[in-house]
């Protein structure tokens, strides 16, 4: 059931999802973190970031994580290996999140098939236009059973909101921020997620970008089906200074970070 997010619709409280960058802080530690997330009761699903040299929708934390991962030689094959490892541990959905260029570079069909074999559930490609999705992705996604999530943001037009719910096969990713992942811009989240409600149709709604505390999550209760915590999770892992990197310590920190989320999410 790893590629079907309808379970989100049926739960009465928002579920928690965690984003982490493949290969960060290094390949081994990332594997351990995935193991933790696979078994952690508070975590309903996971986004695995595919590092890219020019991540223009990401804030400083995820940018930096991509840079570290790439500097350690992380490749798409590494991403897929990590996905496989995760899949071997659990049935939770796993989204691959990244940018178009590396996907097109591998070839969309190859990429999707490889992703599917590795056990991924779906894709989030923030810079993928709808036309390109229809032309290049739709049929191969269909035939492999991989799903796709599109974004809506506070600046989205009504049309764009309708389209996102119409087209997304995983969930709609609601950008809970004016800005980038991890940005601490103030905005009236409630107002935005209220504005989305009329367009909700079929696809579940998940909020991400700038969600970092249990109280952020509580504030969205009733408005969304799930939340994604990314930058805050990566920041909680602490310094990535290689010489000081202690995998056990990193995993402990992740565990600590997740603890307060237990009560607020299903």
């Amino acid at each position: 059931m790893s590629n079907n997010f309808t379970f989100l619709n049926t739960s009465d409280r928002a579920v928690l999802s965690v984003f982490l960058t493949a290969g960060y802080p290094n390949n081994a530690a990332c594997g351990e973190l995935l193991d933790l997330l696979a078994t952690h009761p508070a975590v309903s699903f996971v986004e695995l970031g595919m590092p890219f040299s020019d991540p223009l929708a990401d804030g400083p934390t995820i940018q930096r994580a991509s840079e570290v991962a790439l500097s350690k030689g992380t490749t798409l094959n590494d991403v897929f290996s990590l996905a496989e490892r995760f899949r071997s541990k659990c049935e939770k959905p796993l989204m691959l999140m990244g940018y178009c260029n590396p996907v097109y570079r591998r070839g969309v069909e190859t990429f999707v098939k490889d992703a599917r074999s590795a056990g991924a559930s779906g894709l989030i490609l923030p810079d993928l236009p709808y036309e390109s999705h229809h032309r290049d992705f739709a049929s191969v996604l269909d035939s492999t059973g991989l799903s796709m999530a599109f974004l809506v943001s506070p600046t989205s037009t009504e049309e764009a909101m309708a389209k996102a719910f119409d087209t997304s096969t995983a969930f709609v990713y609601g950008v809970a921020n004016v800005g980038l992942t991890g940005d601490a811009q103030s905005m009236d989240r409630g107002a935005f997620f209220h504005r989305i409600q009329p367009y909700r149709f079929q696809s579940p709604l998940v909020a991400g970008f700038g969600i970092s505390t249990p109280s952020d999550v509580a504030g969205l209760d009733g408005l969304v089906d799930g939340v994604i915590v990314g930058s805050a999770f990566l920041r909680a892992l602490g310094s990535v200074d290689e010489s000081a990197l202690n995998v056990e310590e990193v995993v402990n920190r992740a565990n600590e970070f997740l603890k307060p989320f237990n009560p607020v999410v299903k």
Binding site: L76, V103, D127, T155, S156, V178, G179
Partner: protein, 392 residues
Amino acid sequence: MHHPIIKHGYYGEFGGQFIPEMLRKNFIDLEAAFNEAWGDSKFQRAYSNLLRDFVGRPTPLQKAERWSERCGVEVWFKREDLAHTGAHKINNAMGQVLLALRMGKRRIIAETGAGQHGVATATACAWAGLPCTVFMGAEDMERQKPNVERMRLLGAEVRSAQTGSKTLKDATNEAMRYWIAHPEDTHYIIGSAVGPHPYPMMVADFHRVIGEETKATLEGLGLQPTHLVACLGGGSNALGLFLPYLDDETELVGVEAGGEGLDSGRTAATIERGSPGILHGAKTMILQDSEGQIEEAHSISAGLDYPGIGPLHSHLAATGRLQTAAISDGEALEAGLLCTRLEGILPALETAHALAWTLKADWSGHEMVVLNLSGRGDKDLQMYTSRRGHNE
């Protein structure tokens, strides 16, 4: 859309809008505003008056006697080096600032590599009284201190991009990110004919005056060029010259920065050595590795040191309408020095690439070449000086 060459934001297979949803509305608004303004004779008048009174247009079209003699072919220079701030870049900056004022925007952002576009934008903003933030790679800020100072004197804030290679590509990412975080009040002035639709065509349109003046002057003289030559960074000076000639027989030549050599791994020759990919919101030719990671470009000329190129250029090259060539760092330096001594014009190192090509090309002698002398080389004095020292 008033450009038949574009279909839904694409030039053939290139172009598009590979942007996150958070920017979609900005692009919808921008495209509508630009199309409306461009079709409005009042906007057109304000823009041309500004080009005349502030920028110093028309720029001369000069027959370069001693250069022609050296090349064995008639070469004319389109003197964009005489435009205010010393390069063609100001045409676009003024156009977009006018557009931003019309859209009611209250802040301007821009990215810059060598600082030429940053200076042009800061200049346009000073003129308009708009606050301006320029993103610049930390590395580039270090290498191009005088331009950083110029921007600051013009009242602009210069923000250093600390990510990635800390150069132009990263400054562009930062500018996009800032725009994502401030979509309402801010307009982003991209510095070349690159980026998501409608930027490539809009920027080119704000530069087409280069080609229009050229065509008007030459037609007045009863002349028709056989070749148009320009250097290719992002491609704005080239398109500015080429646009009015797209449907003519005239050959179009884009000269890329070969850097230390096409096979050295240290090059910026995007069309010659790159492959199709997606960068900064558009599908175009880019320098990338087998994983689809963007590679650092390398050129002695900071204004050509970019791993992408405008999507229209990719299309024109793919369809054979645009001929490309690469010139190495050393060839460009020598050509720049030669032009200085023969013509009394110290050209920008960017321009020197186009100049070098005219020296090397195989001429019958009956051709007539117009070369876009895209900028002056005061900013490159240091580089020329050490080469001269080295030659002696």
